[in-house]
Amino acid sequence: MRRYFLLCAVFCFAGLMFSSAQELRLPDSATAGDDATIPTTGSGKATLYVVGPGISRKSDINLGEEIHLAGQDLRSAGAYLVIVCSSTCADATLYVSAAKPFSLAFILHPSRVPVARNDAVSGVAFPFDQFHNLVQAPQTINFELGAGKSSILSKSVRTQDGAAWFRASSGKAAGMVQVVASLGDISAKRALQQVASDPCNLRITGGRTKNGITVQTEPVHDCTGNPVPDGTIVTFTAAGPQGKTTVDAPIKQGVARAQMPVQGAETVSVASGVVIGNELRIGALP
């Protein structure tokens, strides 16, 4: 009788052990959006928990059968903790990596830049998969700056830690520049407005009129020959025996003009921003 009870106890214990014996063997790698299958061992009912980025799932499973994780549940790259509990719990972590690049996040600075400025333009690109996961695996991104059909810059940069960047000087001609970051057949386009730089060789001419003096600039260009945009302020200063008179005038159609109500002999100077032009001496009324 005692032997019978002992045998029963051994069988019961073995049964318990068997029903709870479970081991999770996860796939070596998983990709975002793809299905994953996890085999289980043992027998009996168990509870499955899957906790990961964007998911927190609990369901009943049968030990010994495969656990099927749908691609829809594994869209976010990251760590998924898989727990199977019957009388005891077993767990394992499944790392899901980003799928292939689908889009580029491209940030370009600035959107408006003066011409011929060293290291004035910079851009950063991050490749993302279709589920908005950052693609960490190295990719080669091409950055191209072009105005019309001419190319200003073409540069291939390998992503490091998911990021690729470039820095470049602005071109010499004012106008719209298209900046493209591309990876295979994926591309992101940005527009960059190159504007004339500070005026160069600012020169004025002028003369006396009945009401004072009139001065005007020659057509205002920057140092690479681009016309300085209309609206740029030019400051005329007349210094004479009666003191200083200053007039600000915007450039209109490439030229700035000013009328100054002064009667004596005057020395007129001109400036725009930090650039100073020539001086003009105008005599007093006879």
């Binding site: 509870t47 928990y49 906790v51 990961g52 980025p53 964007g54 998911i55 927190s56 799932r57 609990k58 976010s76 790259a77 990251g78 760590a79 903790l81 727990i83 509990c85 719990c89 767990d91 790392y95 990596s97 980003a98 940030i107 600075h109 910079s122 950063v124 991050f126 908005h132 996961n133 950052l134 960490q136 490091q160 830690d161 998911g162 990021a163 960047w165 820095r167």
Partner: protein, 172 residues
């Protein structure tokens, strides 16, 4: 008199609770240290680094609160974009399944690996150690000290740095 004292005590308790909920230093157990490697191509200035660490710590504190108490409110502010959406989905799923996660004794060692030339994107590598507890309807089903690696993208917001991407990886 006793009623007045009781009322005062009750208000004090409510104030303390609110202060602990909304304070930046809500969880003193979240430790964040910046590694010695400096970011490139732009250097991370000391004041910026301090702000980043403060906001990173606050983000983890908020995330821990959201996942422990199954509420999305703490996620407003420190997270944006996909990171926020993903965490929101986790919380909503947890509300349905009755699961809660607790991130205890957090210790983060952070390296700034990329800081864009204009200072508008910062990439961090975070080696995080914490005690992860998962409970189902209050019953503990998982309790483990884990070391995780996270790739984090942060951008400057109006008044703070926000996390836009929080992605766990097996290693850097």
């Amino acid at each position: 008199m006793r009623r007045i004292i009781n009322s005062a005590l009750r208000w004090a308790a409510i104030c303390m609770l609110l202060a602990s909920t909304f304070s930046y230093a809500a969880d003193a157990n979240v430790q964040v240290q910046m590694g010695e490697k400096n970011a490139s191509p732009r250097a991370l200035e000391p004041l910026t680094e301090r702000a980043v660490l403060r906001d990173f710590r606050f983000a983890w504190t908020s995330m821990a609160q959201a996942l422990e108490f199954n509420t999305v409110d703490p996620l407003q502010g420190p997270f944006e974009g996909d990171a926020k959406q993903s965490l929101k989905n986790t919380v909503l799923n947890q509300q349905r399944s009755g699961i809660t996660q607790r991130y205890g004794d957090q210790n983060h060692r952070v390296e700034a690996v990329f800081y864009s030339p204009e200072g508008d994107v910062l990439e961090l590598h975070d080696t995080a150690e914490y005690q992860l507890q998962i409970a189902d309807a209050g019953k503990l089903v998982h309790d483990e000290h884990v070391v995780m690696h996270y790739v984090v993208l942060m951008t400057p917001g109006a008044d703070r740095w926000v996390i836009r991407q929080l992605q766990a990886v097996p290693h850097f």
